[in-house]
Subunit: 358 residues, 2 copies
């Protein structure tokens, strides 16, 4: 008879509820709930019956009902301009891993850089009462025509917040740029150009600061060069085109990110120069493409999965009410040495290009 009962239950087509468990264990639903959340308050014998009933029914609490009752969801919303960005997706993995380990789900919001979509997500979040938020954007989406929405506890990654008090988890950009510069200096370079726009993104600005500091420390202040570039491959290539209109060429390019470095390499190659024989180039981020360039790009690797995990762990702590005492968590950048850095070329280079000497 009891046998028949246990055999019957799995045939139910709808998932088991706490009611099913209670009935099978012959206790009240309150006791089932207690057995799950405060087992020490339940008699051992009762607990056993309940555990068995749970196993038999395959019960797991309906998360929606639980959230509704508790007034807090177990979803974290990640808002990113582009979830397919190779720089972002490993962070998502870290976020997801840590969230899941704590029973939370990661909901994904892809804004395509469109602020309007960001606002939509905020609404969505509000409706779902997402417990917390991870921002990849450097700012909180907002609609000037609407009152500012309530924000749940939030953490910024990739790009520090332009203003406001949301804590940031990311690489130490300044230190990374510094490491790259030291490498170039160690190879004997003295004329080093920084390529990138340091105004658009705060993270890029910090790389620039690292560069400036290193240049100053090495006493190279006068020979430093800065070329504006928007952080894209095209921008890197264009910077090279503009550069060759000038006379005072650098021997090495410290690029604000890998895309820029790839563009610089393409521009150089198109002009018939060889990297690293004629010019040295460094990137930043270590995107997957960095290893497909030839030669492979020397760059800084962002500890992306770790960033994600750290950020989620911090958010979880904030959810527990432990204030974000630390406004910034900076992770160690890793120098990845591949093939784009060598000693400076003898000066002056043959500037006519394709048929230049070796």
């Amino acid at each position: 008879m009891g046998n028949i009962k246990t055999l019957d239950l799995p045939l139910k087509t709808t998932p088991a509820t706490i009611e099913d468990v209670a009935r099978l264990a012959e206790v009240s639903i309150a006791t089932v709930s207690r057995a799950i959340h405060m087992p020490e308050k339940v008699a051992a014998s009762t607990r056993q019956k309940i555990d068995h009933a749970i196993a038999v029914t395959g019960y797991s609490a309906n998360a929606m009902a639980r959230s509704l009752r508790l007034g807090r969801s177990n979803m974290i919303l990640a808002i990113a301009p582009d979830i397919s960005d190779p720089n972002f997706s490993p962070i998502l993995i870290g976020l997801e891993k840590e969230a899941r380990a704590n029973g939370l789900g990661l909901l994904i919001g892809h804004t395509q850089g469109d602020p309007l979509r960001g606002i939509e997500y905020l609404k969505f979040m509000n409706a779902h009462q997402a417990a917390g938020m991870i921002l990849f954007t450097g700012y909180v989406p907002s609609d000037p025509n609407q009152p500012a929405p309530r924000l749940p506890p939030s953490v910024a990654v990739v790009e520090p917040m332009a203003h406001g008090s949301i804590p940031f988890v990311g690489v130490d950009d300044r230190l990374g740029a510094r490491k790259l510069l030291e490498l170039l200096l160690a190879h004997g370079h003295r004329r080093i150009a920084f390529i990138g726009d340091s105004r658009a993104r705060l993270a890029h600005h910090r790389r620039r600061i690292g560069f400036d500091e290193g240049v100053a420390a090495a006493g190279l202040r006068d020979s430093q060069m800065v070329l504006d570039s928007d952080g894209t491959l095209e921008g890197g290539r264009a910077a090279i085109e503009r550069l060759f209109l000038r006379d005072d060429l650098p021997t090495a390019f410290l690029c604000v990110n890998d895309q820029t470095a790839a563009g610089v390499m393409m521009g150089l190659t198109a002009r018939g120069y060889d990297v690293p024989k004629d010019f040295s180039v460094t990137g930043f981020d270590d995107i997957p493409q960095a290893n497909f360039l030839s030669p492979g790009l020397t760059t800084i690797r962002q500890p992306r999965t770790a960033i994600g995990q750290e950020a989620m762990a911090l958010l979880l702590r904030m959810l527990e009410g432990e204030g974000a005492e630390q406004p910034e968590t900076l992770l160690m950048p890793d120098l990845i040495v591949r093939g784009t850095v060598g000693p400076p070329a003898p000066w002056p280079l043959n500037r006519k290009g394709f048929a230049k000497g070796s």
Copy 2:
């Protein structure tokens, strides 16, 4: 006075509930709900008051309460072995876009290829009553020790299901391989090798079939060659090493995916050969790295975002009860011609490598 009332409400720190709206509009919550979901059943004047109250309070229905009541969540769970795979992430974007457009949220599950984690997600899904599921894995995660879990409506992408009746949305792999082969043939190649493992993944098997069909149609059956390789860059490189132990070299390599093609190109370059002068190479997928190879890889582009949107649209239809009449939705592959295909090299090549002629 009314003024004061409307000014007061936004100061509430907790989000507005249907109760707040009802109070402000001086109707019952039932009428508010009706005004939202069946406006035609509500008097125009009442509707106006309610609309105003909604605007003032910034109300949007608590999704958890709504789901609980309706017995159906508005979350879709996507289970992928690696959400950072450049082949997958644009699909996620498509999925997310279409889901969001229909008021659903996309929850992400990253299994790292670990079946155990897949099972965890199934449990999670069950607890959350996810309305539907997108599978990137080609199989349903399952635990042999547990009864099979109930599955919500599901759609497979990237990899068709090994068995079972879950509909698939993806590129037409067979046709894509065929297009690549035609291109090679048009350039004059007659000795063409297929590199890849056609057993591990069904999608790869289909590419192999396209290759076989094309070879047969061109009457080349006897000269076709197949080299086993596991679909990784390393595998591609290793296949080249093994190949050069033999005598009957092909003039072109049709690789099962871009990673393999990249490995093949590296292997060839390492031996001192030039692509496409000495050998032609094609890939499949058009991963972002394909354009960073030099020369750029000629390949097939998967319409990834479209795959995501199609898949989600199909899932949404299934959720409405419109059966998945069509077991497969095959999207058109795009041939992307870059620089790795040229005419076959004169035979025999100088096999000693680095100092070869021309």
